[in-house]
Symmetry: C2
DNA sequence: GTGAAAGCGCTAACAA
DNA sequence: TTGTTAGCGCTTTCAC
């Protein structure tokens, strides 16, 4: 293990405490001593051991990033936020540690263990844990600051950052309505996932706002996967040939559906209009470029990181709502009636 | 800070060292004492402080994951490997810490600093740093085990995991040739990125193997982005209308191109055949499903993690080559001539 | 302005 | 089998 503060002190003919003070920019160090220390740091390539600091200071400067670790066949949602969050935290001088937690085999208390083990100053729980997952009970039991992404939580030591999913569903559906569509299908993701319900609510809200009767026949539940989108849309259109547009609860299902429709010579947007949800990086290069709802990953990441920093400073938790944007592209056709 | 080993010892009427031994499953502890300790751990919810262990053991159990941190407009390549690597490492009992390092403003010695600061047992350098980046010089200067992804490096304390990119380029091009294409364009990514050259070599190798003369006019360099792929393919086809197939050095450019061609009523694969590279998760749901070269992210991640674990155990570094696979889908048309 | 010394939580000699 | 103690690298009283 490299050289320690003791080596540094010897090299400078100073006491350890003086060196420590110089290193931490504290008062009560002569300019001469300070310079001597700084010079020695350079010469000896001294790097302070954060672990040792942590032990005495009782704060670690480490943030735990809690990801689910079950299967990555489906693109894990956390990947979109991760780099942005990490970058902001790093810039604020925090180090980040990834903790993979099982969605299925979680045992109560696991979160606390991870926090204590590495003495996390706070943590961020990434999307992927279902509402009602025991990890959220554990979050309420502790006092360590926690920021939860894409999930509501209320406690003084917690903040949550949520996209306004209802608005997202509404924007998507309304865009279809304003483009002249009357018979609009909705293919939702898994019903037990919270955001599915919100996006669904948005769909209904838009219909109502524009005086279009809600038809249960036009709604199907799928699985957020490409194949699922393809199957569901096939069935939906077969049963309801009058449908001219479909809103999918995520981009992947929308893509799966378009790809599949195309094989059967049903063209988008000529024969049917499609709106996705997520604003996936590749959606703009889809064929046709996909109209979708943009989730603001960078904004969410930044706000999440700052919210955590605030909690660590001692401020009260809050709930932040992020406004999604409609990205108008080419998968929707304007129709006259 | 929770309860310490001293509290535990008092609670058990045992000495700290006995408790420590019991906790670490060491010999020389009576069954009775061990049980007493284990029970107390449960009751008091004792969680050992890893930082303190680290200090005395001089090994941290922490792996540094080195990511670049400059811009994430383009999907960062590291995201694909990250969850797999992290999962294997976590399962092996290692914790992982993310360190974001600038590609542009790197100053020599930065890597060592990060390693010493948190006492990393080893680190993994993710793709994104160019060949010749000063971080690789630093890697050679240290003795801490390092695994480098998608970059060659040779030293006893280093291992590197590389996709056989030449083979990838060859497979892609050969598939086109075997489908009857003679005039095959290649749209490469940025020339100063190492993998670009390798994929290009693979392209030439396949041509040569099948006796098709290499035509420099058929090759263009773009930027790995969707718009770039669109522009380059437009120009390429304009200048060389006899081209019937294009191999793109990544999926995103291929998608950008297809989307753009489609607007101009050039259909894939009817009018032109396309092969991408990467095996992006969404490529199978593209319209049409994209024929591409699958990079084995999971395999690479797993091998990288294990390679690092081996280095930490004291074994010599090695270089692992991963074989990419051709995913035959529907963006290539078989033509007769 | 500086130094001596205690102590953070833990492991690992060494003694008993 | 158990206990005592030194010490990992650092910060922080408390004297001087």
């Amino acid at each position: 293990m490299g050289i320690s503060i003791i080596d540094l002190a010897k090299h400078c003919n100073l006491s350890v405490s003086t060196v420590s003070r110089a290193l931490n920019n504290q008062y009560g160090v002569s300019e001469k001593a300070r310079q001597k220390v700084l010079k020695a740091v350079d010469e000896l390539r001294y790097v302070p051991n954060e672990g040792a600091k942590e032990l005495v200071r009782k704060r670690s400067n480490v943030i735990g990033l809690i990801l689910h670790g079950d299967d990555y066949e489906v693109e894990p949602a956390f990947l979109h936020h991760l780099p942005y969050i990490n970058q902001v935290l790093n810039e604020a001088g925090k180090d980040t540690m990834i903790q993979t937690i099982s969605r299925v085999n979680y045992h109560s208390g696991e979160l606390q263990q991870f926090i204590q083990k590495r003495n996390f100053e706070g943590c961020i729980i990434f999307p992927g844990f279902l509402k009602g997952h025991p990890i959220f009970d554990d979050v309420l039991k502790i006092k360590t600051p926690v920021v939860v992404l894409e999930e509501e939580i209320e406690a003084p030591h917690c903040s949550s950052i949520n996209t306004d999913e209802i608005l997202g569903g509404e924007l998507a559906t309304e865009h279809l309505i304003l483009s002249g569509h009357k018979h609009i299908g909705f293919i939702n993701g898994l019903g037990f996932i919270h955001i599915s319900n919100l996006r669904f609510q948005g769909y209904k809200k838009a219909l109502e706002k524009h005086g279009i009767p809600y038809n249960q026949e036009y709604v199907m539940e799928s699985n957020y996967k490409g194949e699922g989108g393809a199957e569901a849309s096939t069935e939906l259109l077969q049963r309801n040939p009058e449908i001219t547009a479909i809103f999918f609860a995520n981009d992947v299902m929308a893509m799966g559906a378009i790809s599949n429709l195309s094989k059967r010579n049903i063209a988008v947007p000529q024969d049917i209009s499609i709106v996705g949800y997520d604003g996936h990086r590749l959606s703009q290069f889809y064929n046709p470029p996909l109209t979708t709802i943009q989730i603001q990953y960078k904004e969410i990441g930044g706000k999440a990181a700052h919210a955590l920093l605030e909690l660590i400073e001692g401020r009260q938790g809050k709930s932040v709502s992020i406004v999604p944007r409609l990205l108008k592209r080419e998968s929707v056709k304007r129709i006259d009636y």
